[in-house]
């Protein structure tokens, strides 16, 4: 465990270009220990790109990202080791379809952390219990509902004992009636003290679980504040417009 006074995630003047297109235009923010930060903003504002830069699925063009105080944009940074500290949950789950649920959870433990098979399986079963899917160990992902798949994906990340978790719209691909079960798992994680950064359109979740909400638009952080302040009393015009649009119905 890292020292509590070092922020798990700190982003300094981050720029990201795709070719000539500037997607992130100087992002500054940090996530503190045990904090849950929700990122909201219109489509194309760069939320996913920001999240993906944080575990180097995208290469930042300029700026610095510090994970637990270590500069991961450094050319010598051990990216694979870095990624085991950061759990990532995708919109489309990205479970490995050719492996059973259990194997989905054990393969990286064995190949990356060097755990033995039995040790990895013990951890996997414990994590499956945590997300309420103990009875699905031997199923293949395709046999599970979207909500169950996403919970397995969360459990898969947890097996690596990450210090923090990134979620990229974890419920956007789900049927409405399945959203709740995934958010429940995430809320429990937050209550257990996991440091989390969540890109989401679930304003209810952001209000209830988030410690802070960050509003992004057009590649910049427009405004950040505790959920009630930002969602009920936004200071910036752009934030107000966005919230009006999403809360229209």
């Amino acid at each position: 465990m890292p020292a509590e006074n070092v922020p798990p995630i700190k982003v300094v003047d981050l720029h990201k270009y795709f070719g000539p297109l500037e997607v992130l235009k100087g992002i500054n923010f940090q996530v503190n220990h045990r904090e849950v930060v929700c990122v909201i903003g219109p489509s194309g504002s760069g939320k996913s790109t920001l999240l993906r830069c944080i575990n180097r699925l995208e290469e930042p063009t300029a700026g610095k990202i510090y994970i637990e105080g270590e500069d991961i944009t450094d050319i010598d940074a051990d990216v694979d080791k870095l990624r085991t500290k950061i759990g990532m949950v995708f919109q489309r789950f990205n479970l490995f379809p050719h492996l059973t649920v259990l194997r989905n959870l054990t393969i990286a433990q064995e190949k990356v952390l060097g755990r033995s098979k039995s040790e990895a399986e013990d951890v996997a079963r414990k994590m499956l219990e945590r997300v309420g899917l103990s009875d699905k160990v031997d199923e293949f992902p395709i046999r599970l509902s979207g909500g169950q798949q996403q919970r397995v994906a969360i459990a898969r990340s947890l097996c690596m004992n990450p210090d923090m978790m990134l979620f990229d719209e974890p419920t956007s691909a789900l049927d409405p009636e399945l959203v709740g079960e995934v958010l429940d798992v995430m809320r429990n994680l937050a209550l257990e003290g996991m440091t989390m950064m969540v890109v989401t359109h679930e304003m209810g979740f952001a209000r209830q679980v988030g410690d802070r909400v960050v509003f992004m638009d057009d590649g910049v952080v427009v405004e950040e504040a505790p959920p009630d302040e930002l969602l009920l009393n936004p200071q910036e015009e752009r934030t107000r417009k966005f919230l009006e649009a999403v809360q229209h119905y």
Partner: protein, 262 residues
């Protein structure tokens, strides 16, 4: 004329043409000669069991050896073609275009005869098996590399990303996550490639070899010239079909199942 009547008429005309064609062939053909030259039971009987124990066995050994060698080479080529290092891509592209553009026979002759001449003192070890396998494997690799590359690209990008985000290296993610899925996708086209290879081992006749190294085609040709009879050709044709038909049927089944799963 009503449409129904006209269709009926056309249909009957087509049947008639077919029957007439067969009848003409049957009358014109020299049946006694055909039977003597193509279906001589004694010559056919004399081919057993060697046609299986030597010829078919060799065909299969050469096929699997060339396939295995080609597959390994193809995997490297596919990965090279996807490499972020440009010269690797160039090498892979050149290789693939070169050996897909040349007749397999040319490559096999080149490996068997030109290399020992170009590099005196060297020769490909393993006799027919060695030369043929390497020559045919080199050609097969060019085709299979494209198949494998297409298979890798058919695996959604999120699979690689999920694996990497769990801390797997690029190599580990390829090996445990992407390639197993890619190979599932390309089993039907790879099986087709295997069938093509079975037939292409017939090109090994140019290499020569010993009595025990003959594959089906050379076995049949040699018997044809020693017996002055074409029956061996018919027999080996049947043996080829016994080998290839189950495979092509299996591919059709696999493809049907894949289509249904989608």
């Amino acid at each position: 004329m009503k449409k129904r009547t006209r269709q009926k008429l056309i249909r009957w005309t087509l049947y008639l043409v077919l029957v007439a064609g067969v009848a003409v062939l049957g009358l014109v053909a020299d049946w006694p000669t055909i039977q003597r030259v193509f279906f001589n039971p004694q010559i056919a009987a004399d081919m057993f069991p060697a046609v299986f124990t030597i010829a078919a066995k060799n065909t299969l050994i050469y096929t699997f050896a060339a396939f295995a060698f080609g597959l390994v080479l193809a995997l490297f080529l596919a990965l090279m073609k996807r490499s972020s290092i440009k010269p690797y891509r160039w090498i892979a592209i050149t290789y693939i275009e070169l050996f897909r553009g040349l007749p397999a026979l040319v490559t096999i002759i080149f490996i068997a005869f030109a290399i020992p001449i170009a590099f005196p003192g060297t020769s490909i070890p393993g006799g027919t098996l060695g030369k043929g396998t390497i020559g045919l494997g080199i050609v097969a690799a060019a085709y299979m590399a494209e198949t494998i590359r297409a298979g890798i690209e058919a695996v959604p990008r999120g699979q690689m990303e999920a694996a990497r985000s769990l801390g797997m290296s690029h190599g580990a993610a390829l090996r445990y996550i992407v390639l197993p899925q890619a190979f599932r996708i390309i089993i039907p086209p790879l099986t087709n490639e295997l069938v093509l290879l079975i037939k292409d081992t017939s090109l090994f006749f140019v290499i020569g070899g010993t009595i025990t190294s003959k594959e089906l085609t050379k076995f049949g040709r040699d018997l044809m010239s020693s017996t002055f009879n074409a029956t061996p050709l018919i027999v080996i044709a049947v043996v080829y079909l016994i080998i290839t038909l189950p495979l092509t049927r299996a591919v059709a089944q696999l493809e049907k199942r894949a289509a249904r799963a989608r």
